[in-house]
Amino acid sequence: MLTFALRRLLLSVPMLIVIALVIFLLLDVAPGDPMGNLPQTISPEVRAQMREALGLGEPLHVRFWKWMVQLFWVEPQVLIDHVFGTSLAVDKPRVLSWQSRAPVMFEIAQALPQTLWVVGTAYVVGILMALPLGIFAAYRQYSVFDNASTFVTMVGYSLPPFLTGPLIIFVFSVQLDLFPFIYETSHRVTDWESFTYQVKQMVLPVLVLSVQTTAQISRYMRSAMLDNLSQDYVRTARAKGMSEWVVVMVHVLRNSMIPVVTVIALGAPAIFGGAIITEQVFAINGIGAQLIGAIKANDLPLVHTLTFLFAVLIVLANLLADLLYGLLDPRIRYG
């Protein structure tokens, strides 16, 4: 298991480098000019100097190498400096945003907590709703509850967040005036009142994001439970006189959770993608909104780094899913 984990971890490094290269090359053919937004009055010589300062004059492989070094060598040092108060990375070049001239990682570090809060809460809420739904739907297969939940999850799965988001805002914020319709990023939790406000402004985005999670995971939960409920060991457990609760919630559930846990791990990055749309709907100042802003402003370093960050999340989730599968299921042995 340990060798498998190590090999899997080592394999993801070249994968990430290739992904970084793909993202870099794709963006490099960009016909857009980062200097396009500057005023016309700037003379060509100054323009050329500014291009030089942005690192645009150098050949492709040099820029890729510089970006990789800055991302994997300088940025970790900055992090170490920040945590331990050392000064490893002083005066070393960092990846700079073309928009704000601030380090890209600094910009991302400011936006990431918003996304993590909303997305993380939504994912947990979604899972907590999905599991009981799937379990009960499978236990009473083809019952009214099962058919109703099939229909509801199908509808929830089919409604895109850019439709449910505005509709929910319309009903709950505009008509009923229950929740604020814009997420206030600068809001700080200091006392009970500000905490309730924070909860209130998170309700709608979390609701929109968790609908998709619930719909997907409850389907997996249901089919995994169905697979196990018809197994022989269930009949044996019942024949031994175990209570129905123990049979379903201990024996069947534990076996059914194996594929579901991997689906949960695999689905985590996808919800970050979904957050791009939800952040747009609720005006949350997270990394999704940052990405859209950077794309529209042609801020290549920020787009590079954010896209790469999404890729890292996906690769990590795949890794986690593989390892969890091996850990949870004793029938799987990695040679």
Binding site: M15, V18, I19, V22, I23, L26, L27, V29, A30, P31, G32, Y142, N147, T150, M154, V155, Y157, S158, L159, P160, F162, L163, P166, L167, I169, F170, V174, P269, G273, I276, I277, Q280, V281, L291, I292, I295, K296, V303, L306, T307, F310, A311, L313, I314, V315, N318
Partner: protein, 302 residues
């Protein structure tokens, strides 16, 4: 060799029977057919131009002259929804054909030719690890102007969005197809075909492809829904079709701004997107059950 249609007659009838038992699937297929027919034939019955402004009825609510209401320039929303539907459905169908075609090609190549299996599956893994929505946004941003300049704005963006969705959604199909090809190619009838001197190409087209048709059909059905949602999401994020080019996603995102005053502008395109995706998903569900020989002949759910 006997006529394959005649031989498989009983099979198709079985599949149809199983499909008809699945009430959700029949409902989905009916609804989808109704939407397609409505969008295609609708303009014949409702011949208002979708881009004709009517300044006397701007932002009007539903009325006899404008059953779905109008937008801020007084353009008829019903006509726009009908015109947008044709574009959204064509984007969905074209992107689906591209993604299923690519996926089948990669899957069959990886399954049949041992030497290609490793590289192609690593390529699939690589594509699966790419952050797709961010990349889609980036692709559209990068190539929009270049393509618009060479083949015209509307054709350019149509091609771009179809290709972008196609090349970012073929991976699941490739994986499923490869797995099925691997199991089919070891069967006796493939061996028999090879022994009787059938060429590789003919083995693929005559013996392997017909046997892996069911996962392809199911992926194709669900692919339409995926493509329509992705197109709408791109339009919603401002990186899809331009504003004067109505698609359901475009109409929806244009209407969201006016949601509190004129909710019908969100309602109709939103309803059409949701109904299409819902009907396609139900249809895919039913097809999956109908095409799965292990489930066929059993009591149908719902």
């Amino acid at each position: 060799m006997a006529d394959p249609l005649r031989v498989s007659h009983g099979l198709w009838r079985d599949i149809l029977r199983q499909f008809m038992h699945h009430k959700g699937a029949v409902f989905g297929a009916g609804l989808f057919a109704a939407i397609v027919i409505g969008v295609l034939a609708g303009p014949l019955l409702w011949d208002v131009a979708p881009d004709a402004p009517d300044f006397s009825a701007r932002n009007a609510g539903p009325s006899a002259a404008h059953p779905f209401g109008t937008d801020q320039l007084g353009r008829d929303l019903l006509a726009q929804v009908l015109a947008g539907g044709r574009i959204s459905l064509s984007v969905g169908l074209a992107a689906m054909v591209l993604s299923v075609g690519l996926g089948t090609l990669v899957g069959v190549a990886a399954g049949v030719f041992r030497r290609l299996d490793g590289p192609l599956m690593r390529l699939t893994d690589l594509f699966l690890s790419l952050p797709l929505l961010p990349l889609l946004l980036v692709i559209v941003m990068l190539f929009r102007e270049a393509l618009s300049a060479s083949v015209g704005t509307n054709t350019g963006i149509f091609l771009l969005i179809v290709i972008a969705i196609g090349v970012t959604s073929w991976m699941p199909v490739a994986r499923i197809v490869r797995a099925d090809v691997l199991s089919v190619r070891e069967r006796e009838f493939v061996l028999a075909a090879r022994a009787s001197g059938t060429t590789q190409m003919r083995i693929i087209t005559r013996h392997i492809l017909p046997n892996i048709l069911s996962p392809i059909v199911v992926s194709a059905t669900l692919g339409i829904a995926n493509a329509i949602i992705t197109e709408s999401a791109l339009s919603f994020l401002g990186l899809g079709f331009p504003s004067d080019f109505p698609t359901w996603g475009r109409l929806l995102s244009d209407g969201v701004v006016y949601l509190s005053e004129f909710p019908w502008r969100v309602f109709w395109p939103g309803l059409m997107i949701s109904l299409t995706v819902l009907s396609v998903n139900f249809m895919g569900d039913g097809l999956r059950d109908a095409l799965d020989p292990r489930l066929r002949g059993r009591a149908a759910p719902l």
